[in-house]
């Protein structure tokens, strides 16, 4: 049992601490047991399976998807400069879109605009493509991060250390589709449109042979009836 680092619990005596933990556990237990039981009895489809790995040097990884959470000091005036960039681009950043491993990015200012929380969900390990960013979109990377105190520049040999030093591992993190990458999602969307087109053409084909008819019927059974989302 590790001692809490919460300063509000600094004066707690050992017996008090034990009583508090026992009480908390008793309160949480019924719900925890239910969650654990459900996880055990469910026969998991590997398509939905998450994991609790490390995303390379820092951050958590679930299946193919990883999280990066970082807190850093903002240079004086940096928050306003960044807000102007976000306003101008409406949050839509060309270059960031072409990266195609980014599910989302979030920039949150706090402590009177002196600090920033940066949080993103992305595919794979965090530093895999960082060298590619440094040669393909150095301008965008530096535009976004030059307002952070100490940012060494995307092409600096120190940039990986800088990011890792500011990262905080998430303690809890949930991913709905841990096996699905951004690239997969785009392919599924393309497939959806192409499939609709294909089904329309198939419907119009009156001279279908029995094997094709059978294959189409199986396809419809697989995709054309509502199914609850199981995590």
């Amino acid at each position: 049992m590790t001692k809490s680092i919460d300063p509000r619990l600094a004066d707690e005596s050992k017996p008090e601490e034990i009583r508090r933990r026992a009480r908390e556990l008793a309160e949480d237990l019924p719900q925890l047991a239910k969650i654990a039981l459900e996880a055990m009895i469910r026969d998991h489809n590997p398509d939905y399976k998450g994991t609790a790995n490390k995303a390379g040097r820092a951050g958590m990884q679930s299946g193919n998807v990883s999280e990066l959470t970082a807190i850093a000091k903002v240079k004086p005036g940096g928050a306003d400069r960044l807000r102007r960039i976000f306003d101008l681009t409406n949050g839509n950043m060309d270059g960031a879109q072409r990266v195609s491993t980014l599910h989302d990015m979030r920039f949150v200012f706090f402590d009177d605009d002196t600090q920033i929380l940066f949080a993103t969900t992305y595919d794979g390990d965090w530093d895999t493509y960082i060298n590619d960013f440094a040669t393909k979109i150095p301008g965008l990377m530096d535009l976004l991060f030059a307002n952070i105190e100490g940012w060494p520049g995307i092409d600096s040999p120190e940039v990986k250390d800088f990011i890792a030093d500011h990262q905080i591992d998430a303690s809890g993190w949930f991913v709905a589709n841990p096996q699905v990458t951004v690239v997969d999602t785009r392919r599924y969307q393309r497939m959806e449109h192409a499939l609709e087109d294909f089904l329309e053409k198939s419907r119009a084909n009156a001279d279908m042979d029995p094997a094709t008819r059978q294959a189409l019927d199986e396809l419809s059974t697989a995709i054309a009836q509502p199914e609850g989302v199981d995590y």
Binding site: S100, N131, T135, K136, I137, V183
Partner: protein, 462 residues
Amino acid sequence: MGILQELSARFRPDKVKLQLDDIQALILRSRPEPYVGIHSMIHVDEAAGGRDLLRRLADHIPAASGWTDELDSWTGVAISYDGLKALGLPETSLGSFPLAFQQGMAARAEQLRDLGENAPETWEDPYRPGTCHIALTIYARDDDALDGVLAKAEAELEKSTGITLIGTHRFGADEDAKNPFGFRDSISQPLVDGSGVDPLPGQERAIAPGEFILGEDSETGSPLAMPQPEPLGRNGSYIVLRKYQSRVGAFNDFLRGQSADEAEQDYIAAKMFGRWQSGAPLPLAPERDDPELGADPQRNNDFSYEDDHRGLVCPHAAHMRRLNPRDSQLTILSDVNIHRIIRRSSTYGPKWSRDVTSEVDAQEDRGLFFIFISARAFDTIEFLQQEWINRGNFVDLGEERDPVVGLHQTPGTFTIPETPVRRKIDGVTTFNRLRGGEYMFMPSLTALRWIGDGAWEEGASP
């Protein structure tokens, strides 16, 4: 005309912008065809003995200044992080190397996806962490030349104290220069800008020299991080060494199981490699092998994927297209010019034949040393292993892996685009199993002497 004569004819001294007289020749000198050679590994027991060896060795390592010349033999040397430590380098220098190099290849197993039967716990003894300190590779024109230089090397080793020879491995291939699966290999090589040679047809533009030589400008426009101090880092490079055992029998059996006849076996194998056995690339020889094309360095690499977006000629999943996508449309923002490698691989074991079956694989006597040089060698191999080899996301193929060098912990698939519907082959297994490897530093000639002299120590001879 052989590769080296051919290079010599294209060499223009006035185009040289690199300090060739300080760079190890092996970085720029291609393997000859046919080729023979030997890899050896040395453990440093005492710093003084190790440094003494390096000091004497430095005189036998040719510089790149004559890199297109005919030589009977040439030697390259590289040192692991544990080797640098054993040689007594100061902490300030040791700490200036890339983190992955400091950790060593075995400790990077997670980033390299070296899991299951490829995990470091299963590696051969010479590759156990902390064992290989100095790696020496000797290339020679033929066996006689190799024996001659080996006798000299053995005499030097006998004069040494404080070092242990851990092992040697002789390799070689005839003029067909074929890998264990019967395919001509190491055809495509990047051209280093400033090395004094114009590109071959299809070789694409020259790559910034800092991608291969420390201290020069890289593709970012500035140099990559370099070990300190400058005499140690400048004009050096990094090496990735990975020894693979090739399961030629399993590969043959797999092809037999998927095919009606030998022609179909050859077709599927060509789709997996991206080239036919002769080296003729699918984009230039879509229907059948063309040995004349395969052997012609002016033509065998002169292609792009511009007209093959669907992969009907060369599948996106083919080994050759995965590891150098050239102008292919990729799903993820990538810079193909920073993932190029100078390949110095060597094949060992019996030549390929169609009748080898999987029972033969138990002998573990065939395979290749996958060796490459790059100033970002460790980032590159980890990128390749994660993205281009053990995944398919970058070409919209989800979890599909490289059919030749991928790790398949459960049998995988291989997608061949065909009309009207793709062919998807099951049952791809690990045809090349990792037996060990290490991350190495390839010092300049100045650095070899700097280490040999212990130049950082007070009172060291200048």
